[in-house]
């Protein structure tokens, strides 16, 4: 097939979805030792993800071959090992320099050598949140839903039910639930502080006797 279909042309011409995220606190360093302040997250294509998985298998084989030949098949069958490798390769493809769209990290091997597990987990969480946002699936918890959770948790306090009800929530949902709970907590506290100030003001205000002569000295 020489000519591209209209759909392919359209798919190739549409801008790639991205989100720039401030990660200054994550402790990631550039080559010169300066802090990585912002990262651009692309959403990988399915082809990128497949490549990441294939690279993970290749890396697993190579890593195992350093020890014994019999470890190779073992490594290919180890889902945790493969998942970790795939994550590194997928993140290397997704994390971009916001200034030029080039990969933010030199190579997947560099990511493995220089980032610790927490940092990789942090990047993965951000990437997953971006995937949800790209899909229009950003979780949202309004006051009503947060209060419903609160009531459920308080009603079952002391049992294992509160934890069991929260356990299946994906991390992004827990994040939003937690943020929304903080927002509501803050708003309630502000409302209380304001009301207390009003009450104190009412107590402190001088009483005016009916019929008295205000502002006129004896």
């Amino acid at each position: 097939m020489t000519d591209k279909s209209k759909l392919v042309e359209w798919l190739e011409s549409r801008p790639r979805w991205y989100r720039d995220i401030d990660i200054a606190g994550a402790g990631l360093r550039n080559h010169d030792g300066s802090s990585v302040a912002r990262l651009r997250f692309w959403i990988n294509t399915k082809g990128d993800d497949n490549d990441a998985l294939l690279c993970a298998y290749r890396d697993a084989e190579q890593a195992a071959r350093k020890y014994t030949e019999s470890a190779v098949a073992e490594a290919r069958r180890d889902p945790d090992f493969i998942d970790d490798m795939k994550t590194v390769h997928a993140l290397w493809r997704a994390c971009r320099n916001p200034d030029n769209d080039l990969p933010a990290f030199p190579t997947p091997e560099w990511v493995q050598a220089h980032l610790n597990g927490h940092q990789i987990g942090y990047l993965l969480n951000l990437y997953n949140a971006c995937k949800l946002a790209e899909a229009g699936l950003t979780p949202s918890y309004d006051r009503e839903r947060v209060e419903a959770y609160r009531d459920g948790v308080i009603a079952a306090w002391g049992s294992e039910l509160p934890e069991r009800s929260l356990a299946p929530l994906p991390r992004e949902h827990l994040t939003h639930l937690c943020l929304m709970a903080m927002r509501l907590w803050h708003d309630e506290r502000e409302a209380l502080v304001t009301r207390l100030a009003e009450l104190e003001g009412e107590h402190a205000r001088p009483r005016i006797e009916p019929g008295g002569d205000e502002g006129v000295a004896g």
Partner: protein, 193 residues
């Protein structure tokens, strides 16, 4: 493995009509990708192409294989203005995110499950029974007779020539078209198995 039954959400008379189309049965679909400008057609896949799509990825890691095969079948089946949309499955996977790719493959495979039955995976008797039902109803009888009579020699015992009805070389008939022939025979000559 459970053999795939005929789709019950498609009326038998429509199912029979769909499989009578030549050169291939097809169904229009709106790609489930936000903002897509095109309406596409899913075309029945020849059994040899399907077999090749499956075999092409036999060496791939097991966890990748189903998606790669589905991508190849999607690329084979999806058409825009009578031409394939994607040159091959991997081209599609390079252009779409996982969510969009999976949605497009699911929509395409769902359509293929209607218009592209394959002898290697269907419950053949259930399909023929349902198609025969469709051959007798919805104004399909004339077409069913025309198809059923495509035999060389005696109408009952002659050599089957479904390719005459479809106007194609015998080797280009899809399994769906061959099924439609068997169903038409069943409908016209009730006792034919």
């Amino acid at each position: 493995m459970k053999r795939q039954p005929p789709p019950l959400h498609v009326a038998p008379e429509r199912l029979f009509r769909l499989l009578l189309r030549s050169p291939r049965a097809s169904l229009p679909i709106a790609p489930p990708i936000a903002g897509t400008p095109a309406i596409l057609a899913v075309r029945a896949v020849h059994s040899l192409d399907e077999a090749e799509a499956i075999e092409r990825h036999t060496g791939a890691p097991e966890s990748l294989r189903p998606a790669l095969v589905a991508a190849e079948l999607t690329a084979l089946a999806l058409h825009e203005d009578d031409a394939p949309v994607f040159a091959e499955g991997t081209q599609m996977l390079r252009l779409l995110t996982e969510r969009d790719a999976m949605a497009l493959m699911r929509t395409t495979i769902d359509a293929l499950n209607v218009i592209s039955p394959s002898f290697r995976r269907i419950d053949e008797e259930a399909w023929v029974r349902r198609l025969a039902e469709g051959a007798k109803t919805g104004g399909n009888a004339e077409q069913a007779i025309a198809l059923a009579l495509c035999v060389e020699g005696n109408a009952r015992t002659g050599i089957p020539r479904p390719e005459w009805y479809f106007g194609l070389p015998a080797g280009q008939l899809t399994d769906g078209q061959r099924l439609a022939f068997r169903a038409a025979r069943r409908a016209v000559f009730e006792d034919e198995r």
